[in-house]
Symmetry: C2
Subunit: 421 residues, 2 copies
Amino acid sequence: MKSGLGFLIAALHCEIEGLEQLARTSELVGTIGRLVHALQRERGISNVLLASNGHRFAEQHREQIAASQRMEAAVRQSFEQLAAQNRIGNGARLFSRIAWVLPGLGALPELRRRIEALQIDAAESTAAFVKLIAGLLAVVFEAADGATDPEVSRVLVALFNFMQGKEFAGQERACGAAAFASGRNDAARQQQWLHLIDSQERCFKVFVSFSNETLAEAWRANQPSGQIAELERLRRIACAAPAGVALDPELSPVWFDCCTQRIDAMQAVEELLADHLRSVCQQKTAEVHDELAVHEALLPKLPDESDPPGAAFFDSHGLPEPASDAAPYGRQLERSILDMVQEQSHRLQAMSDELETVRSALNERKVIERAKGLLMAHRRISEQEAHKMLRQTAMNQGRRLTEVAESVLAMAELLPRNAAP
Amino acid sequence: MKSGLGFLIAALHCEIEGLEQLARTSELVGTIGRLVHALQRERGISNVLLASNGHRFAEQHREQIAASQRMEAAVRQSFEQLAAQNRIGNGARLFSRIAWVLPGLGALPELRRRIEALQIDAAESTAAFVKLIAGLLAVVFEAADGATDPEVSRVLVALFNFMQGKEFAGQERACGAAAFASGRNDAARQQQWLHLIDSQERCFKVFVSFSNETLAEAWRANQPSGQIAELERLRRIACAAPAGVALDPELSPVWFDCCTQRIDAMQAVEELLADHLRSVCQQKTAEVHDELAVHEALLPKLPDESDPPGAAFFDSHGLPEPASDAAPYGRQLERSILDMVQEQSHRLQAMSDELETVRSALNERKVIERAKGLLMAHRRISEQEAHKMLRQTAMNQGRRLTEVAESVLAMAELLPRNAAP
């Protein structure tokens, strides 16, 4: 029979196991970040290749494909390692996200063949890469949502938002490159552009609020004001001008290089974040190991490893001191075990509360996903169409995407299920 | 290398494992319910024994102790079985709750010895049982909070609230029995009494809103209006009278029997709930097993069990149909696997959203626990004192306990940490 102390030790073992699992998931997140970065570069290079009818960046394209493939191999290996682990907390959701993204990786060779054969245009190619990268970021999101430790969860939320912000920056690069290259901007693209700026700024804001001073400082240093000034100048030229006004196509490579410098620099911050994640996991695990050692040292002091038979448990309720030798193993030992158990219990409770708070930062994304799901079910439309519908409504009404999503959910009760549109 | 379908199957295996774990936790919850019921009876009988200076209920007391001990043995066995499982989702928190409660069970013999020797009074004895039962209910709470399936979680939330409501009814019985036996009621006890009525009604309301029509009907049938009328009459006599007015001590056994009949009847509803919980777990597990069989049957159709190399993943983005024989394994198979993975992914996402909603019903309790923890840390007081302080404030201000707890949390930022009172 396990005593109270025995269960306390079992609880600490569970906590260590959870942290070790988090360390493995965190490794995966870092690896995914590097693949996403490679795919973002490949997307940009593919666009130039397609826009120039195969004349520009053919060599860079081949080189970048090789780089993407190396990162893809690393991600696939991480997936396998995770699957080999038999204890994954939110395994069902994490694995189904991986299941979703794998056919996308499998379809990459065919996508690249079509790009090289100039069988698709830049918009189609961009959309394909956006979809694949979104699938990879969904794996990171699930990893962040499934974290069981608030400190680790905090870093994962920061990292997820940074990666998502970087992806919006990448989409902005593609959007702007297409606009400048075409020689003019229209109202729809201007609005989409402004949305991408808004979305990326919100992501980086969440990242800063969930990271520490060192990382926030690294982020500020990473984005020198000279570079940002040039970025803002180009944004203004394209977005502040009346819709339909001509743009100088010569600015297309200028814009592309400016964005690429900025996005490549972001990768350094992302690596810092991944390092920080690793060290937080290690540090937390070491802390719990120390605590475990203290508790395990106490176990042999209890005869038969059973609970002390005294009534110390009820003492704080004003029960009198024991009349007899009812606490033969020492009243002090009994009290100290009780105190430890209660302290431990409060620590875990506080942890779970903080975790709840941290995770709520992920809610915004969940609201949008739920609204999309609802629209898909009710109007029998695809995910892409649902997303477009939400975004269009947000643009038309000048509201944030989350606000529109919340309105959709609030109306959910009024909508018939699976009704035809 | 696992394919997308392979990961989908792994996700379903994780889901089944989670459900099987839930089934074990649910068994434990049922067993705890029976021990709590035995301890509630023992608390009542002990009070009569102590109040009558050992003259009444001595025989019943011995019999009830034997019954409690049988239930305790069953609970201890369930604890052991749970500890032997190596995959417990929220193991750290669940085990630390068990660790907290075990010394309480260990201290029961000493508590009983003091009761039989009439060394403590009824109030002290009641407080001791209340503390132990609260610890057992905390284990049930953790089980409900750790559930990974929304339907199972829904039943667990209903069951937890029912058990908590029943415990408030038990505390009301003790409070009323003491009031009638003493021959008068004072203002403090009246207010505590009204709080117990209010708390139990809120718990039963949550139970009804989270259970199905059959269970709600069983609950209504369980509490016949004649019995409730008698209960309300006795409540009115004691609580509506001006504080300090004399009460007829002859009403003490009448009150006790009326409450006991009602609480014993509740046990039947609790058993129904436990049965329902068991069948929901079984049904959900069977459903996922069926789904798994469908997916596993598909696996051998994929050569090398790898992902189909076609570009169907990107199709919905308007990529043209493949120009060549890029989908040698059949475009239809490729599409159907993709569809299945996406459907599965949406199902899990929807599940996780619903789970979040169900779990928020447990938040009220968490708010109170957090406020208590805060007061304990800031004012260096015990849990009991913190609870009393919250309750007293609620009484004085005529507000609900949760409202006061929320105010305490809202002020948290303004309070110095670990400051002397």
